[in-house]
């Protein structure tokens, strides 16, 4: 089965009101080319699950969010994403604010097809008190302890960015941390994987690299080739976080500045035009890997 498609094909398969998981973590390996494609589309009313970075900020700035399910939104080196911040302060979308680990457990529950997973995480805090939809359960065993029943976070679609994939949906993540992309994939009805490069199966699947596969190809609905598709977040190995670009993005908070940012970097005819606008492939390639 050939699952190759374009970013526009992916967004055409999404619907208003869907719950969408976005892979990566903060400023690392975010499927930004797919997110910008959503910004160019009429898609709206989205519920987004994310370990949030500029993916959330862009969607918030464009008014695409109905609800955000999250543990944080951060640009790491620049701790606060101003687009998320302004929209959150204006009450522009609903929030289900969770512990980072609870997000993982919710995705895992969906992947396991159970209604919830029990955990003590969240007890004693406002992530339970502020989320009346989250219930507590009592252990049926001798301890009889009270636990949080973290509900399954079922996704209509997941958008992920990996290092390489083949046309059948086999994929590898060669960056140091695979994050929770595997769980997002399994929690989702449809899984769209953007990659730096589509390569032959023989190149993906040797014995050394098979361990870098987040999930088997049957999880994957579509594969999109987007070189530097995580920019301005990191796509290690290959390129680091484009801090200069993130600063420019983070400063574009007035309506005029945001409109100018959109015109310059989002509302473009193609991904190649985007790469040219941010300084070209050579420039992105020269961004060093981040040091934390």
């Amino acid at each position: 089965m050939n699952k190759k498609m374009t970013a526009a094909d992916v967004v055409a398969q999404l619907r208003d009101g869907m719950t969408i998981g976005i892979g990566g973590w903060a400023t690392r390996r975010k499927p930004m080319a797919l997110v910008r494609e959503i910004l160019r589309s009429p898609l709206c009313d989205l519920t987004v699950v994310s370990y949030g970075g500029p993916d959330v900020g862009l969607l918030a700035a464009a008014g695409k969010l109905r609800k955000l399910i999250f543990g944080f939104v951060s640009l790491d080196v620049l701790p606060l994403d101003m687009h998320f911040r302004n929209a959150r302060q204006a009450g522009a979308f609903e929030v289900m604010e969770l512990d980072e680990g609870m997000v993982q457990l919710g995705l895992r529950a969906a992947a396991m097809r159970v209604p919830f997973l029990p955990t003590p995480v969240g007890l004693g805090t406002d992530v339970v008190a502020r989320n009346p939809s989250i219930r507590l359960v009592r252990s049926p065993y001798h301890d009889a302890s009270t636990l949080v029943a973290m509900p399954a976070l079922r996704l209509d679609a997941a958008l992920l960015h990996v290092t390489e994939a083949d046309e059948r949906g086999n994929s590898v993540i060669l960056s140091p941390d695979p994050f929770f992309d595997d769980l997002m994939g399994r929690a989702a009805e449809r899984v769209y994987v953007s990659c730096e490069q589509i390569v032959a199966t023989a190149k993906i699947c040797n014995h050394d690299r098979a361990r870098y596969q987040p999930f088997e190809r049957s999880v994957v609905t579509g594969v999109v080739e987007t070189p530097f598709g995580a920019h301005p977040t990191a796509g290690v190995p290959g390129y680091g976080i484009d801090i200069d670009h993130l600063k420019e993005y983070n400063a574009a908070t007035t309506p005029e500045a945001w409109a100018a940012y959109r015109a310059r970097y989002v509302d473009l005819p193609s991904h190649d035009d985007y790469l040219a606008a941010v300084g070209g492939r050579l420039r992105i390639n020269s961004i060093p890997p981040p040091v934390y």
Binding site: R85, D99, T125, D126, V127, F180, V291
Partner: protein
């Protein structure tokens, strides 16, 4: 023994390092210049068993200097992606030193929003891993700006990190896994060691008065008959901080004007 003058940042680093004394083979997580330098100092001076990460996905066999790495890649001793970090931390073998925006008398901490929850005055990060950290392992606190804005009266605006507040817990029982260590601030060192986990003042930094600390804290603190003065970092500690852990002096940017540690 101390023969050299030292800065407030260096005093705080030495005091922050103390949170890992006697903690054994746990993951030391310190976020920010002072906590991270402090973790390295603890590892090099009195707890060689600490685990430390590079802040990305690897465990390091040696502390690294802050800032860009010039000489060589640090020696790696293991893999610690986020999924494994959660596996580790839920098991309890971690002591984190964190920098919350608000702290209350129960040790409850906030890094999410200040003000009304629906339309906050300031949206910050979100609860991050604070709920899970607080119920799973020890947490200590570094506050560079000890004031009533941080140490609030009443409860913090959004309880991200659980604390010793019975009303927040099922059946009013604070779990035994909850452990809040020390609070190191620009004014002194405190902990939750008084009766019923009330906040107590362990020491004041040289030149700071007990009254100053109480004034800058939005809830009553328990004060001893004679409050000790925070000891100076030793010459050995200063050498490790200056030459090994932070040779580019990033710590000099933490406090405005990089004041001396002894303000007498």
């Amino acid at each position: 023994m101390t023969t050299h003058p030292y800065t407030l940042a260096e005093l705080c680093i030495a005091q922050c390092a103390e949170v890992w004394r006697g903690e054994g083979e746990v993951l030391a997580t310190g976020i920010g210049v002072i906590p991270r330098t402090a973790a390295g100092l603890a590892r090099l001076s009195f707890n060689p068993d600490l685990l430390m990460t590079d802040g990305e996905a690897y465990l390091l066999a040696e502390p690294v200097a802050l800032g860009p790495r010039r000489a060589r890649d640090p020696l790696v001793e293991g893999w610690m992606p986020y999924s494994r970090t959660f596996d580790l931390l839920w098991g309890g073998r971690r002591h984190a030193l964190v920098g919350p925006v608000q702290v209350d008398r129960f040790g409850q901490m906030n890094i999410s929003v200040v003000g009304d929850y629906a339309k906050p005055k300031a949206a910050i990060l979100g609860a991050r891993g604070f709920p899970g950290n607080s119920i799973s392992h020890a947490n200590s606190i570094f506050v560079p700006n000890h004031s009533t804005r941080v140490f609030v009266a009443g409860e913090v605006d959004m309880v991200c990190s659980a604390g010793y507040n019975p009303q927040r817990w099922p059946e009013g029982k604070v779990p035994s896994t909850l452990r809040i260590g020390r609070m190191i601030t620009d004014l002194g060192v405190l902990d939750f060691g008084a009766a019923n986990h009330a906040v107590r003042l362990l020491s004041v930094h040289p030149g700071v008065t007990v009254a100053q600390v109480q004034e800058a804290t939005g809830f009553p603190i328990v004060v001893q008959a004679e409050t000790p003065v925070t000891p100076a970092p030793t010459d050995e500690q200063l050498a490790l901080i200056r030459e090994r852990l932070d040779p580019r002096n990033l710590r000099g940017t933490v406090f405005k004007g990089d004041p001396p540690g002894d303000r007498r």
